[in-house]
């Protein structure tokens, strides 16, 4: 599964780790994150993430 990077702060979403503090289980792909999920580092929405090369 691909990692995604927040273009507002550089946070990297790694699907293998998920975002357990915000209720996202390890193994959750970026596409499967809920629409209202925000960057745990800086607070911007999913639309500011880009897939890492």
């Amino acid at each position: 599964m691909e990692k995604w990077e927040c273009t507002a702060c550089g946070y990297i979403y790694d699907p293998e780790k998920g975002d357990p503090e915000n209720g996202i289980n390890p193994g959750t792909s970026f596409e499967d994150l809920p629409e209202n999920w925000v960057c745990p580092q800086c607070g911007v929405g999913k639309e500011f993430f880009q897939k890492m090369a």
């Binding site: 507002a8 702060c9 550089g10 800086c42 607070g43 929405g45």
Partner: protein
């Protein structure tokens, strides 16, 4: 080596972070005009809307800067650059020496030259300070005119609507989002926004802000008037080139940089809204992010070329998703467009091709396939063989 960064928005913050990632030793100093730590500007909209408390808008904690050994000097506007001696002058007093300088001072809101723009109740939104001023004034002034139907204008409109204000958006062009949409997409978007209770006026040129000390309305070319007790001007941005220009750096509309993001002085680099690269001024997050990363790398001697960024915007208004990538209106006869509209479902998709290669797309009302399309555009993929099927509901995007 000491790198000085002017500006603590996205460009400055990401450049500082990247410099530290590459080099644990380099000295990094950020000078910021604002008194607040870095916050992503999209968070201002959520803050104005009441969806994000002020303490949550910031990206990095104070401890983070300490850990990263990044010296940050807030509320310290720079008065002058002295390229000959590689110095900057702070507030007319102190001078600081650099080995490399990064100009990341961003841009400021463009206010068209209409009469009465200095009246009380006329605002722009760029900084946290602006957002606080707007919220304070809106408490007692609830009839808001938003001048500009671009991305920022519509987002402010949505945010203040959530605060209970009555909103009228006034756009100069005959469509919303003139840079990201076409007429057909705009018409769909307008319908959705109006369902939320916002009013939209297209093709109106504001000529004057009416009222005595406090603004009371707008007057348009042709004589039409609109009553309002508050106005937000969202008519685009202008690069903050004053410092660079006064120091003799080459400027046009923006600060001119080469592919290595260097200004006409090789020790001075730039990233973000301030710069003009191959004739273009971007003013969008993905471009600034890429530039900040590359500028940091180039400053440290690892030469990397910036090849430009495919304009890429997403907007969520009234629960309607909208994505606009690359070129969205054909510019000559070698380019063709294919489209699909399902008006009753609020879905509109369009692709621009040049000799079979996908160079732009517009996705309204759906996000399905948008990541694949976006990647195909950045890879300049030839999609000729899927021309007839790609906009159908059952198209398998993994083929791309």
């Amino acid at each position: 080596m000491r790198v000085i960064i002017i500006g603590n928005g996205l460009g400055g913050a990401i450049a500082a972070k990247t410099l530290r990632e590459i080099d644990p030793e380099v000295e990094i100093d950020i000078f910021a005009e604002e008194k607040y730590h870095y916050y992503p500007r999209p968070n201002l909209i959520e803050f104005v809307a009441g969806d994000l408390p002020m303490e949550k808008i910031f990206a990095y904690s104070e401890e983070w800067y300490d850990q990263q050994k990044i010296e940050i000097h807030l509320n310290q506007p720079i008065k002058k650059l002295i390229p000959d001696s590689q110095e900057i002058e702070i507030d007319g007093r102190k001078r600081e020496k650099y080995d490399a300088l990064l100009l990341a001072a961003g841009s400021f809101p463009f206010v068209p030259p209409f009469k009465g723009a200095e009246k009380q109740g006329v605002f722009t939104l760029r900084t946290l300070e602006d957002a606080l001023d707007i919220l304070e004034y809106q408490k007692n002034h609830n009839k808001v005119a938003v001048i500009g139907g671009g991305l920022l204008g519509l987002e402010i409109a949505r945010a203040l609507n959530l605060r209970g204000a009555s909103i009228e958006v006034v756009e100069f062009y005959e469509q919303l989002l003139p840079r990201q949409l076409d007429i057909q997409g705009s018409s769909l978007l307008k319908t959705e926004i109006e369902k939320m209770g916002l009013k939209i006026h297209l093709g109106l040129a504001t000529e004057e802000i009416l009222g005595q000390d406090e603004m009371k309305g707008l007057k348009f070319k042709g004589g039409e008037k609109l009553e309002a007790d508050m106005a937000i001007v969202a008519a685009g941005i202008k690069p903050e080139i004053k410092l660079g220009k006064e120091a003799g750096l080459e400027t046009d509309r923006g600060l001119i940089v080469n592919d290595f993001l260097q200004s006409s002085d090789p020790k001075i680099f730039a990233a973000g809204d301030i710069l003009q690269h191959r004739g273009k001024i971007y003013g969008i997050i993905p471009a600034t992010f890429a530039q900040a990363r590359l500028a940091a790398s180039n400053i440290l001697g690892d030469k990397k070329k910036y090849e430009g960024t495919v304009p890429w915007n997403t907007l969520k208004v009234a629960g309607l998703f909208l994505t606009s990538i690359g070129l969205i209106n054909p510019e000559d006869e070698n380019q063709e467009e294919i489209r699909e509209e399902k008006r009753e479902e609020g879905i509109y998709k369009k692709i621009i091709l040049q000799a079979g290669v996908i160079i732009g797309a517009l996705w309204v009302g759906t996000k399905n396939g948008v990541d694949h399309i976006s990647r195909a555009i950045s890879e300049k993929k030839n999609i000729e063989k899927w021309k007839d099927s790609i906009l159908k509901d059952d198209f398998d995007f993994s083929l791309l």
